[in-house]
Symmetry: C2
Subunit: 568 residues, 2 copies
Amino acid sequence: MAPSGINNGRAAPGNPPSGSIPGRLASVYSELQGSRLDVSLPLPSVLRNSIDVVDGPPSSAAGNPGEIAKLFPNLFGQPSAILVTGSEAKAALDENLRIGVVLSGGQAPGGHNVISGIFDYLKDRTKGSTLYGFKGGPAGIMNCKYVELTKDFIYPYRNQGGFDMICSGRDKIETSEQFKQAAETAVKLNLDGLVVIGGDDSNTNACLLAENFRGNNVKTRVIGCPKTIDGDLKCKEVPTSFGFDTACKIYAEMIGNVMMDARSTGKYYHFVRLMGRAASHITLECALQTHPNITIIGEEVASKKDTLKNVTDYITNIICKRAELGYNYGVILIPEGLIDFIPEVQQLIAELNEILAHDVVDEAGMWKKKLRSQSQQLFEFLPEAIQEQLLLERDPHGNVQVAKIETEKMLIQMVETELETRRKTGSYNKQFKGQSHFFGYEGRCGLPSNFDSNYCYALGYAAGALVHSGKTGLISSVGNLGAPVAEWTVGGTALTSLMDVERRHGKFKPVIKKAMVELEGAPFKTFASLRDEWAIENRYVSPGPLQFSGPTANVSNHTLMLELGAQA
Amino acid sequence: MAPSGINNGRAAPGNPPSGSIPGRLASVYSELQGSRLDVSLPLPSVLRNSIDVVDGPPSSAAGNPGEIAKLFPNLFGQPSAILVTGSEAKAALDENLRIGVVLSGGQAPGGHNVISGIFDYLKDRTKGSTLYGFKGGPAGIMNCKYVELTKDFIYPYRNQGGFDMICSGRDKIETSEQFKQAAETAVKLNLDGLVVIGGDDSNTNACLLAENFRGNNVKTRVIGCPKTIDGDLKCKEVPTSFGFDTACKIYAEMIGNVMMDARSTGKYYHFVRLMGRAASHITLECALQTHPNITIIGEEVASKKDTLKNVTDYITNIICKRAELGYNYGVILIPEGLIDFIPEVQQLIAELNEILAHDVVDEAGMWKKKLRSQSQQLFEFLPEAIQEQLLLERDPHGNVQVAKIETEKMLIQMVETELETRRKTGSYNKQFKGQSHFFGYEGRCGLPSNFDSNYCYALGYAAGALVHSGKTGLISSVGNLGAPVAEWTVGGTALTSLMDVERRHGKFKPVIKKAMVELEGAPFKTFASLRDEWAIENRYVSPGPLQFSGPTANVSNHTLMLELGAQA
């Protein structure tokens, strides 16, 4: 029962080597952080003994294979790799590998474990190898800013949240000058491998870098690892991106708590905006975990070509129906990227950008006449605060900052207005009180769940094995995730096989297409089959705080399990 | 690894008696909620065997004993009760008690366990007793709206968050008409006892009700229980109010996650507003758990008679100092009630209320001349959005709605303005990006921590024993909370001994004074001795999600332990 962590500057309770924690020297650990440091993680059984690498069949591309083949002449068509237990123990201990690792893009719980996994592979399987961590994301590669990751350096970050071991960044390596800088670093450090931990964009760039290195006879092999809490980097061989599991559990804890509050208080509608600008996986997963009354899925809105008025009416109709049943409270989930899914909003914003770039916005509103009639109508339909935001909040290029629009507050106001209209016609006569929430930063740096801890460790360990076996241009792939860790499959998937092209500025650009919520997929269909009941009945589930031990420590997320074929 | 809770309408996994869950019939339980249902809670050893009740010395009042004696002629001076192990087993099993229970005011984790505790006392110690739950708070007593709380009714709420078993309300029983209604219910249901679970106001009213019942020969004894996440109902005999522990742990989890994000991203200042309108205990406890760079404690601001400009400068100075050290990120905690602690803001609002009630607010701003010069200056100092909020957002009585002011956003804007000024003088030249958060509803209805689960169960069990022993006008009191549960002390404290009087409308009104953060108390002094270091060094601690098992499941909150004399 002793309080902990108050003693300032006290070292972590998990007995870190005293005086030798360069990274988190200034940190004090909570009891829980400390208790996670020494947890020993299970490895898939194929990674426990001697490892052989077997090639799969040749690969193609997700689309336009002809163009992808042209863009990746050295890599296109290469087979995926499958790691299997070796036929006999090999004496590989004398190989000195030099590997660099970089974190790219937004934080996701588990990143530190990918790095631990690479390190432990090198420690277990090679001798005298060196792991470098590039600091601050891809810029660290280009500027050759790095730190050597030793056992003592890594230790304080094992199973910990955050990306602060080496930090991350959003720079990209994509121009020929940047490729040259990266190659200089690779040559200078004599790197055998580079592991890029990132999302769809970062893995696309990792593949371009692999192609570039191979084309220029730079020996450095490049391996990607699938990271993003948004869950939109996945395919058959890469069933999920790391961080999604933990982030959704953190958000679902908060949503569940708010639900219990809503039911107990009986007088608030909580509008909860959730991270996920491009895809609505987080919102869908949180809905499956908590059973809110209303959930808006961007992909469905787009597919039905819904207008903002449609979305408002959908919400308002359920609120009115619930009022008839005596429920004047509820919980509503909204994906952060909602308005990006609504065609008419996109159109309005495009027109506004054009007008604001060239015209004066006069007080009298004459400028509005330049909008097309549908856009003008939509603009007038928006709450005043949002109108102002559209006119005033501009990025350095003068464009409307869609990301700054607080969608949940906008919807509250639009629902209020619609309810006011219905009140006048007598079809609604209750109190409506909206409360807004945005759950975002809270989920990106939490302590990784047991699933993410294990998954990331396996991804990193596999990345080490892939570099060691001479592979390049693959993304570390761990599968069979519904089974116990021992039975997980491990390999590497050709990054070119995930690619399609997009035409930008008259040129074909390779892209790993974001995995959107599939309206025919099991997670959405399960949700869609239950949501009408959740709307009216109150089927609230409160998942509670993520547990690391006890009976619920290994409960997996619904999206993954449903996609793997679990029955709803 | 199986997903859970998707099957809609599935009963709780903890084997509740099927078809007999009237309260949460529509609920589906998460794995964790289910796993909590059947946890058997430890009782203090004095409650495990035959219980004797021993009287302490006569009591007085917290202030103005003469006036309190006049207001409570039947109760004043009564001794506190101490529960001790009985000298021999008594055959009390044949006593039929009829007890009512009510939840009053805002939600706090653990309320359901108080009710379970009362129920289990009756089941264990009496025979054929009945427990009634009044629905929707004190209004349920006045309107005689109740439900009989049976074993099956209570079961699905054991160790669960929320107040939805019988819900709560904010009505008060304070006029003679209301006392009469309450008495009618008490007589109609032939109640031996009534347990009021609430905060300072509710316990004051519980005591008035006890006085009124005794004065009018209504046999119903009234016992209070200390509830509020704000932590501002406490005294020597009642070391903490329930819910504070869980709520702070939930908020601290979120703050810790945001801190890891701040450190990993390196470019945001997160301004976190926390619940606690009257006292800053939650903010202080969260600071002790997480070590933010800046923490504003309302009581200190008030004691130093700080202005809003002082607070802004304090924050801005630290931001500039950190910028010099290369840190352009940080985490800042702000109590929800901050502006209530700033005298000049109170003055401005009072003047605004007066002006807005009688005058027209002209566009040209002539109305501002009616403000005193200090208030006029303050008004001009406020960000435009806050000025608008002050003028436009009015409650039904026409008053400015202070509670609606988003203090964290206001401070971000004021800091931005101050930094802009310093930028012009060359004393600051970095990027400042503020992110605002409000953690409130997320903490009130979480699954109660092991501490709150045990504490509430003991409070309820003790309340049952106090009613059984014929006591009235006491608040259930469980002490020695730093020791294992078995060694906790149990009793009841005379509610009149917590009271003082306030003069309102020319009359003395009894009040239980809110326990504010003591600037000479151990929690604040510990914080104050460390905050300068936390401001500059980054001593962030991430407490992580509340655990119910494993090595950290019984870590207690700092405020309680420091107040009990633990060494920092």
